[in-house]
């Protein structure tokens, strides 16, 4: 009961950023902060359709997150929105996720970005900003732990434990530790 209350409080905090911020572009940032946006990209084809599945599943178990898909037009936009922390989550194929981390391949012109893995879905990884609050990461990992069998290709929580570069709060959630 306490946990549920805490979850509600946390997502209320995300969504309670003043909607009356005045600068029009500032309001656009407010939208990005009010919703849990899962970024994908057109040029990494499987990511957008899968991000929609993630959004649908998340909104069933975490309606407070108000999850939405956001599709970047190319890898440069992915890099820009992630590096500037306008987006906190991005779904990429494994090879592109590695390239983002290393600043190689399609990201070689833009540089490396520090990322952590939040969950693995078959050939795709959901990446998160390393400084995204531990509590938020825990809530999301806990949600995936509950719904992974509804998401095609998603690793079981047990197998997730063996991944490298996991966000530390993911391990806490999978082990059943309390929310940080």
């Amino acid at each position: 009961m306490f946990k549920l209350l805490l979850i509600q409080v946390l997502f209320f905090l995300i969504s309670s950023i003043p909607a009356y911020a005045h600068a029009p572009w500032g309001q656009y940032q407010v939208y990005r902060q009010k919703h849990l946006l899962i970024m994908s990209t057109i040029v990494d084809e499987p990511t957008y359709p899968y991000s929609r599945k993630l959004v649908e599943a998340l909104n069933q178990v975490l309606p407070e997150a108000k999850a939405r898909p956001a599709r970047a037009k190319n890898f440069e936009r992915v890099h820009n929105l992630f590096k500037t922390k306008q987006m906190h989550l991005v779904l990429l194929s494994k090879s592109n996720a590695k390239a983002l981390l290393e600043g190689s391949g399609p990201f070689s012109d833009f540089g490396a970005v520090n990322v952590r893995t939040l969950y693995e879905f078959g050939e795709m990884l959901l990446l998160v900003q390393p400084d995204f609050p531990d509590s938020h990461v825990w809530i999301l990992a806990d949600a995936f732990k509950k719904i992974y069998d509804r998401l095609p290709g998603a690793l079981s929580p047990e197998k997730m434990m063996s991944l490298t570069n996991l966000h530390p709060a993911v391990l806490l959630a999978i082990r059943g530790d309390s929310i940080p």
Binding site: Y20, Q27, Y28, Y31
Partner: protein, 422 residues
């Protein structure tokens, strides 16, 4: 015998050939042209494109009075969308790229303090256009909070969309943005007053180097990055005026703030209602032709703002049938619309009726129009908002009958049948 026939045929051709050549008029020329083409897919790839205002931005061409200035222009969001775009794409756009302008073109003989009279000669639309709802932007940004996109298929007969079945929006193109470069005195004055407004909570975009072009002047390491004006607000130099009466055939007087004036255009709209309430019109790329008809010596120094001159263009745009809603400054008790947040809520928050307030009256009128489009024409609320943005005109009824000034919303009912061309 064959030889005689061959000679006869040859002779006939020889006689007729000049006549055939004369019959083709395409080689008859009288225009002098200055053409500024697009280079590359986006503004960043194009030396003829910029998206901030500063007098140091160099002219890419020069033109004489009377020359046809042909500008290949980009859409407001710099080719962000395609026919396959979805609302999720609107959530991941880069607003630092707004608005790509083509130019500037210096007008030979124009000096600071003069005014140039610019005629809009022609606007050739791309095949594709779009209208979007951008979260946090637009007149009803507190009501329509989710991203949305409508794709338009454009011809000069009308704009149609699979997302707006049964609707054809007539072609009434004009430059959303057209203007001249500000000078340094204007830049300083504008920055000062806009900073003061921003400090008071106003909706102001201060200089921002992210995505700014040209990078050498306005980008992150640009020489003048703190003085490059954003293109969103219209100002004394024109720019993003979004005034649909600036149709082909009209002439706009611009005061010149630098020698050569620095004429530019972009963000051309296929059609737009007065108000552009969703924040976007039917946005498109074009080939737009302008012509400077006259330099008015010394006139610019006496002008506050640009002015438009026209003939019957304003009549041609009028609907033959219309539906009109009437708005007065009414709102819900406790409601503080986003346009009024910076004024503070203490005084107006609990009022249902505001005093002599055209903005709230316009809001009242457009909300009623959306209700009408939904209930009578079966549109979704998002479709209705989009249609209001491209085909509904907000007009001032009166500004005397205190406290209830009236703004009306006029829907061109022709969109439902007159121009249909499936």
């Amino acid at each position: 015998m064959k030889k005689i026939m061959f000679i006869s045929i040859l002779a006939t051709f020889t006689v007729l050939l000049p006549l055939i050549a004369v019959a083709d008029t395409s080689d008859q020329k009288w225009m002098t042209k200055v053409e500024v083409k697009k280079e590359g897919p986006h503004c960043i790839n194009d030396k003829n494109c910029f998206n901030r205002y500063h007098p140091k931005i160099k002219a890419v061409a020069k033109a004489n009075v009377g020359d046809m200035i042909i500008l290949h222009t980009r859409d407001a969001l710099d080719a962000e969308f395609t026919l396959n775009s979805v609302p999720a794409d609107v959530a991941a756009i880069d607003l630092g790229l707004v608005h790509p302008m083509t130019g500037p073109v210096n007008i030979i003989g124009a000096k600071r303090g003069d005014a140039i009279e610019v005629e809009i000669v022609d606007i050739v639309p791309d095949e594709y256009g779009y209208t979007v709802i951008i979260p946090g932007f637009g007149f009803l940004r507190d009501v329509f909070t989710e991203p949305y996109i409508i794709h338009w298929q454009l011809t000069r007969i009308g704009a149609v969309s699979p997302g707006m079945p049964g609707i054809t929006v007539p072609y009434e193109a004009f430059p959303g943005s057209i203007g001249v470069l500000p000078g340094m005195p204007e830049i300083r004055k504008i920055l000062k007053r806009e900073a003061a407004l921003a400090g008071a909570g106003g909706a102001v975009l201060t200089p921002s180097p992210g995505g700014a072009l040209p990078t050498s002047i306005c980008g992150k390491n640009g020489t003048d990055k703190d003085e490059c004006l954003r293109t969103i607000p219209p100002r004394e130099n024109g720019g993003n005026m979004d005034v649909q009466q600036m149709q082909v055939g009209t002439r706009i007087l611009f005061p010149c703030f630098i020698d050569g004036c620095g004429l530019f255009a972009g963000d051309i709209h296929y059609a737009q209602g007065d108000g552009e309430v969703s924040g976007t019109a039917i946005e498109m790329g074009t080939v737009t032709t302008l012509r400077v008809r006259k330099i008015h010596k010394g006139l610019g120094a006496k002008m506050d703002m640009p002015a438009t001159m026209g003939n019957d263009q304003i009549i041609d745009m009028e609907p033959t049938r219309f539906y009109q809603t009437l708005g007065i400054p009414l709102k819900e008790k406790g409601e503080i619309p986003p346009t009024h947040g910076y004024l503070g809520g203490e005084k107006i928050g609990n009022l249902e009726n505001l005093n002599e307030d055209l903005t709230i009256a316009a809001r009242h009128a457009i909300l009623q129009m959306i209700d009408y489009l939904v209930s009578v024409h079966g549109l979704t609320r998002e479709q209705a908002y989009i249609l209001c943005s491209v085909a509904v005109d907000l007009r001032i009824g009166q500004v005397v009958d205190v406290p209830n000034f009236i703004v009306t919303a006029v829907l061109n009912l022709d969109v439902f049948d007159k121009y249909r061309h499936y």
